[in-house]
């Protein structure tokens, strides 16, 4: 038992509470250790690192205060409101295991503090003001719990995993994609060539990269026209439904709508946006996508600026929750084995947030709260960045079946060409699914299963030979603080 948890409430009551001047936040009612969060409260968990000499409970109370009703001094106008209801309440502060000087602060917010259906409002409250607060060295929003009443005010993913699969007529295996490379410089005509080859070779999707918008070497209408020629040709040559994520990210909302409408006119099943367009624009595009039968792909461009370091910023698990509420259908959520940041357990937590209707508390996956999603559509995670066919057994094991596996370099960099690269990935995937369904120990027999499939598929053999030893083994910067043996619990 730590001392912090037993720190008593120090809230000043009565007339003294509103005497003009400065008062510690914990005395103003922002530290209530006896408070039992209500089912309708929104709860946030912050990792706080107070400046030397700052008491962690006071720091937690300050975060609660500054993210709800408080300012630096007492104001009498509080008395014109039901101020006790509107004050966020820090109710629990725990030291972070194995991290001296850092604490987990649990803060509960009344539902009335938030506008229904607005991520902009939610984030302005929770992260709007507190991250530059001087008494803290660093602050990180680790996780949030949303009451069902609040979840229900959001549209959620425009399409959802199930309907996406129904529209694509693709069941029983991960979807396959590739990002067109080089990501900058191709003309529209050359770009469409890559799309056609990759889709004809067996991929379900190709993808614009985050910074492909409308540049001198390729303007957006040209890209859309050539991509849709490629998509339709590949559909006719395979009998499958294909798609290419047309990135509609632009400088204004009006431009984005114009591009999205052109994509629809051309018969695209999917459009794409970048996280950097902002939460409100994302919600607008999600509503547009729902109205127009469109799958909405979200590239998490920029997230690592605030998600990667454990001491400061916003955890990606929070961003994933916000984006599921906001209404994205696809979200990049890590590969574990690829070139980008991704601890296996933490990534597992992100995937559960995307795909499950109920997330139990699971500290070893970085999930601090039980979350009910109340039948909100499921969001398809996308694994992209430095993965190849030789890892198929690991990818299937780590990421499961409802995921888009994106092999950009692993398709386009194939020695026999793009079609062959796509075919290698598709054959590897189908062979692995078949083996798994047959009850084989595919994780351990993976290399053998791939080698056997490669006997009747030269492109797969070439892929396995080319990338056989490629791995990205670096230590993760964002791993869970708790291991399964930990005794910490809610």
């Amino acid at each position: 038992m730590n001392d912090l948890a037993t720190t008593q409430s120090q809230t000043v009551t009565g007339k003294d509470r509103y005497k003009s001047g400065v008062m510690e936040y914990r005395k103003m009612g922002y530290w209530e250790p006896d408070y039992m969060p209500r089912d309708t409260d929104i709860i946030a968990l912050f990792r706080i690192t107070p400046q030397d000499g700052v008491d962690p409970v006071e720091a937690a109370a300050a975060v609660a205060g500054e993210s709800s009703t408080a300012t630096w001094t007492v104001v009498w106008t509080d008395r014109l409101t039901a101020s006790e209801k509107y004050r966020a309440k820090a109710y629990r502060v725990d030291p972070v295991p194995n991290t001296p000087g850092a604490y987990f602060a649990y803060i509960a917010y009344d539902l009335d503090l938030f506008e229904p259906g607005s991520i902009a409002n939610l984030s302005a409250s929770i992260i709007g003001n507190v991250f530059g607060f001087k008494p803290l060295k660093a602050l990180r929003l680790e996780d949030m719990r949303f009451p069902v009443a609040y979840v229900k005010t959001f549209q959620g993913p425009a399409t959802g995993i199930v309907v996406e699969r129904e529209r694509l007529n693709c069941f029983g295996r991960p979807l396959l994609g590739a990002t067109v490379k080089p990501k900058l410089g191709l003309s529209g005509r050359n770009y469409g060539r890559v799309v056609y080859e990759a889709l004809k070779g067996g991929l379900d999707f190709t993808k614009d990269d985050e910074n492909i918008n409308s540049q001198p070497f390729m303007h957006w209408r040209d890209r859309f026209l050539y991509c849709m020629e490629a998509v339709n040709k590949a559909q006719a040559s395979s009998g499958e439904v294909k798609g290419s994520y047309l990135n509609v990210t632009a400088g204004t909302m009006e431009d984005m709508y114009e591009r999205a409408e052109f994509a629809r006119e051309l018969g695209s099943v999917i459009v794409m946006i970048d996280l950097v367009i902002g939460y409100t624009a994302i919600q607008s595009m999600a509503k547009w996508a729902r109205r127009n039968d469109m799958i909405l792909h979200l590239h998490r461009a920029g997230h690592s600026t605030y998600t990667r370091q454990k001491s400061h910023g916003v955890s990606f698990r929070v961003i994933a929750k916000w984006m599921r509420l906001a209404g994205a259908d696809h979200i990049h959520a890590g590969t574990v084995v690829g070139k980008l940041e991704g601890d296996p357990n933490t990534t597992r937590g992100y995937y559960d947030i995307c795909r499950e209707d109920h997330n139990p508390l699971k500290l070893e996956h970085g999930i601090f709260f039980e979350q009910h999603w109340a039948s909100l559509n499921k969001m398809m995670p996308v694994a992209s960045g430095g993965i190849h066919a030789g890892q198929m057994h690991q990818l299937l094991d780590l990421l499961g079946e409802d995921v888009v596996l994106q092999f950009g370099g692993g398709t386009i960099g194939h020695p026999m060409g793009i079609q062959a690269g796509a075919t290698a990935n598709r054959v590897a995937l189908e062979a692995m699914i078949m083996a798994r369904n047959e009850g084989r120990d595919y994780v351990h027999e993976g290399p053998e299963i791939l080698a056997r499939a490669a006997q009747s598929c030269t492109p797969l053999k070439a892929a396995l030979d080319t990338w056989k030893n490629v791995a990205f083994n670096y230590e993760s910067t964002d791993s869970p603080d708790f291991v399964p043996s930990s005794s910490v619990s809610m």
Binding site: V162, R165, E166, N169, F171, G172, R173, G202, L225, M228, E229, N232, K233, Q235, A236, S237, S238, G239, E240, V241, E265, L266, G267, D357, S375, K378, T423, R426, V427, E430, A431, I433, M434, N437, E438, G439, A453, S456
Partner: protein
């Protein structure tokens, strides 16, 4: 032209033993297996003809394999697919689908382009087979 719909079209056609193993997998998950057939495999032809109802209470893959045999006897000149349906809340759709029979010849599709204003094109995918009436499409 080989149509590549379904879960395993890039692998050599499944043997009956392999199909049976996949059926067993579906049953172990509690999914209802069914067969559907068509002679119009257009990518957006959702409703293939049902070979009876989904086998909700099936326990042994052998039962499904018997149905497949019957279905092939009647419609062996068409595409037949196996579907595994999961009625679990929040899914309530197919969990797996793959081809278990193909016609001898697969004529595939033509892509028709209608030139519109500007450089826009309206695309239509047409099965070559549907030029003939249903039921007589894959005969020589």
């Amino acid at each position: 032209m080989r149509i590549t719909q379904g879960c395993f079209s890039f692998l050599p056609d499944l043997t009956d033993d392999q199909i049976s193993a996949q059926v067993q997998y579906c049953l172990s998950k509690g999914w209802a297996v069914s067969f559907e057939f068509t002679d119009d495999p257009h990518p957006r032809n959702t409703y293939w003809e049902m070979w009876g109802l989904p086998m909700f209470d099936l326990k042994d893959a052998a039962g499904a394999m018997l149905e497949l045999k019957e279905c092939r006897r009647a419609f062996g000149d068409r595409y037949i697919r196996l579907c595994g349906f999961d009625a679990t809340h929040g899914w309530e759709s197919l969990r797996i689908s793959f081809l278990v029979n193909r016609p001898k010849e697969e004529p595939g599709f033509s892509l028709e382009r209608q030139e519109m204003g500007g450089r826009n094109i309206r695309y239509s995918t047409r099965s070559y087979a549907v030029k003939r009436p249903e039921g007589s499409r894959y005969q020589p």
